[in-house]
Amino acid sequence: MSQKKLRNPNYSSIRKSLESIVGKNFVSDRSEERYYYSSDPSAEEPCTPDFVVMPGSVEEIQEIVRLANREKIPLTPRVGGMTLSGLAIPYGGGILLDLKRMDRIIEVNEDSMYAVVECGVTTGQLKTYLEENHPHLWFCQPHAPQSVGVISNAIIYGAGQVSLGYGVSSDMINGLEVVLPTGEILRTGSCALGKSWLTKYCLPDFTGLFLGWFGATGIITKASVQLWPKPSIRDTMFYKVDTVEDTVDILLKLTKSEVCDDIYINSWTGTSTKRFYMSQKPEGTPEITMDIILSGKNQEQVDLKKRMIGEIMEEAMRKGVKVEEFEPPLMLKIAMLMVPQPLPFMDLMLGGGAEYLGCYIPTEAMGEAYKRGIEIAKKYGFQYLHVVRPFRTGHCTGIMYAFPFDKRNPEVVEKLLKVLVEICDMAINLGGVPWKPSPTVQKIVLKHADSQYVQLMKKIKTMLDPNGIMAPGQWAL
């Protein structure tokens, strides 16, 4: 895949300015950094930044933003860069802002249960900090590598281990501090009134101006994220279900019962690496495995919840549904309870490429979205690998379509982009919304969107970012 290698004509003077802002050690225009930060594992085309810059403070970010406006050069913010959908690729070149130096956990409020973190704080860092200092609290930690940014995950509507109960991480933001594309600082939520990062309730809510925009409307430098009481006892239950249709029925009952902390529904292809390579499902293999995590304040409460789940499954069996409880290897159980584990699917095709397109859909449409996803994958010669997770007591459900692929093969990449576009179309037609859409998928979203909605997006973008410097390529309106 060819890389766009850009060079700004004022390159030398920009470099000097950047060095004077953040210091020489935190500006790079070396080929090695430019190459590394030019791509992610997704099917999106790489694009090389002119500079990789690591600011250490809000003031430094402000100065960089002012410089970018003067020079009309693009700015792309990044923390973990792990969206697998090209959201941190520096389209248009310019400055790639690696925000990981800004990694302070500023405050944890035990009583009102929130943490104020800087933009570079990672989920692994916050988890470790809470375990060591506030062991009775936890947060919406995604099932993703620990290098993922807490704020980054929140602004892309990422889900985590408390999402079935309380929603995705974007629902859990109390307030933001943002460096606007013109360099001013904006605070949203109660912190706009003073020092309190308590809540975003009661005021006109500007937080949404920065959620789902993938950096196109500003650089979030701080956020208050909600914490939750960490259960004392957690346990797991594992089931095999023969068909996806039966799974939907069970899922609707499980979510409304409010006894599960988390439910993962995996296609047979995703339950182990070994199975994935089989093109045909071996006879007798159930289509679905369902992993349930539950918790309680004491064993009695856990046992009661387990009985309630068991009753739901028995009721399904009485209706003829083929469902069977099973015991996975002990290590898997331990791993599931210890730390959210990402599905290690990326290397399955040994090809250096991985896409993970999600769609948030109505729970009742899950079966259809699941089957249509298989059809689309098969049409283009891909094996399917689906993961399904309901959110917020089943108010919606995320279905994730995972595709490891050979990124070195342009034909494969082209086909995969078609798959992603078709899945996006399908999910929207089923009443869903694509999650963290790549620039390719964003185009389809905009095509479906109401014209007034798109017009307002354009107005907001132009108002906040008159020079169009922020994250070009994201929501290219």
Partner: protein, 394 residues
């Protein structure tokens, strides 16, 4: 190009950055290089991408690439934490890229080339004459010309931390072990392998490795015992598996680290640890013994067997241990940063309220001791063998 060997692997880093922290439950900084330099190119994965860039001719070897390639202790945190099958190749790819860089005539950092050149002549990286290699040997200790067990002293104990070699010989002697040393021992080659100075116009790693194997055969060795974790890894892993294709160094010797030998003897009741050594200590896992060779329990079991020792663990321990900072050529290439890295370990130990750090590698000993002294820490530095000797009362 040596990187050709890895053409099916180079493109398979997914930038998930497990390689830069500890894991799997608590995530501390685990990669000294990333902790210092902060660009993701300074992680194991970043170096995979750099190797790929070189292989695919995105860029070549110029001054820009030197720190990315060489400012890395090759401590193996990256290969331990990576969750993908490529993990076992990460360090080999870093070393292969270094070898390509050396071949391309890159300017090596600090004194790395100096030691390489010196090794070609005097067979040690400490710029010392070979004729002084046995100066550490206490007068009065007479070792046989031949024995089935060879104590491979290693350059650090022979030229710098001589007390560790002396303690080892004293302990072995007191235990009545039939052992000897090689009178013409050369460096194990680890510093050359780690810094990419494999086969150059000034030194040949294969020639040195083959010399050592021949010397060991000459004294009738069946078993090689080392106190140095770097030598241990080289004899057991590099000579036999990872670099036998380069060094032509297959051998039949059993290779043991001193801690493995002593642990066995303690288990069999062959060592009397009679004196109390009243001390609260923490154990620092040498990368070349722990992550590279999976020897975690032997040194700990010895410490637990010594009466009076209270052993407490640092938060980053065993496979998550923070590197002492000196390996991979960093001590000679980036001296200040090497000690800075060691000081982070010293601070971690100080927080536990211990009196001493104990390790099982003279190279770790040296760098941690440098940090202790430079920062006026009250901690003491010990090798396991020193505490064994104390407890044996010899």
């Amino acid at each position: 190009m040596v990187l050709e060997k890895y053409k099916d692997i180079l493109h398979r880093c997914y930038k998930c950055q497990y390689c830069r922290t500890t894991g799997p439950n608590l995530f501390y900084n685990g990669c000294p290089s990333y902790t210092k330099f902060r660009f993701e190119t300074f992680t194991g994965g970043g170096r995979m991408w750099t190797a790929r860039g070189v292989y695919e001719e995105e860029f070549g070897f110029d001054d820009d690439i030197v720190d990315i390639l060489f400012a890395c202790q090759t401590c193996g945190n990256c290969s331990t934490q990576c969750i993908y099958p490529i993990k076992d190749s990460i360090l080999r790819i870093i070393e292969a890229t270094r070898a390509e860089a050396v071949k391309a005539g890159i300017k090596l950092p600090g004194r790395q080339k100096d030691f390489g050149v010196h090794m070609g002549k005097e067979h040690n990286p400490y710029l010392e004459p070979h004729s002084k290699r046995l100066d550490w040997l206490p007068k009065g200790i007479i070792l046989p010309e031949k024995s089935e067990m060879v104590y491979f002293v290693g350059c650090t104990s022979a030229y710098r931390q001589k007390v560790l070699a002396q303690d080892t010989v004293a302990v072995f002697d007191s235990l009545g072990l039939d052992f000897t040393i090689m009178r013409d021992e050369w460096c194990c080659t680890s510093p050359l392998l780690r810094t990419g100075q494999w086969e150059t116009d000034y030194v040949s790693a294969s020639k040195i490795a083959q010399h050592n194997i021949e010397e060991a055969k000459k004294v009738g060795a069946c078993k090689i015992v080392t106190t140095c974790s770097g030598c241990f890894r080289t004899w057991k892993k590099d000579y036999l598996e990872e670099y036998d294709w380069l060094l032509n160094s297959k051998h039949d010797f059993e290779v043991l680290h001193t801690t493995q030998l002593l642990e066995n003897m303690i288990k069999n009741g062959e060592i009397e640890l009679k004196n109390e050594v009243k001390m609260k200590v923490t154990y620092h896992d040498p990368c070349h013994l722990g992550r590279h060779m999976w020897v975690y329990d032997s040194p700990r079991n010895i410490l637990k067997a010594i009466p009076g020792i209270e052993l407490v663990e640092m938060p980053r321990t065993r496979e998550n241990a923070w590197c002492c900072g000196s390996g991979g050529g960093v001590k000679s290439g980036y001296g200040e940063w090497s000690v800075e890295t060691a000081y982070e370990r010293v601070k971690e130990a100080e927080k536990l309220g211990v009196e001493a750090i104990v390790s099982a590698c003279p190279f770790c000993w040296r760098n941690l001791d440098d940090a202790i002294k430079q920062h006026n820490s009250k901690l003491q530095m010990y090798d396991v063998i020193q505490l064994v000797r104390k407890s044996m009362g010899i």
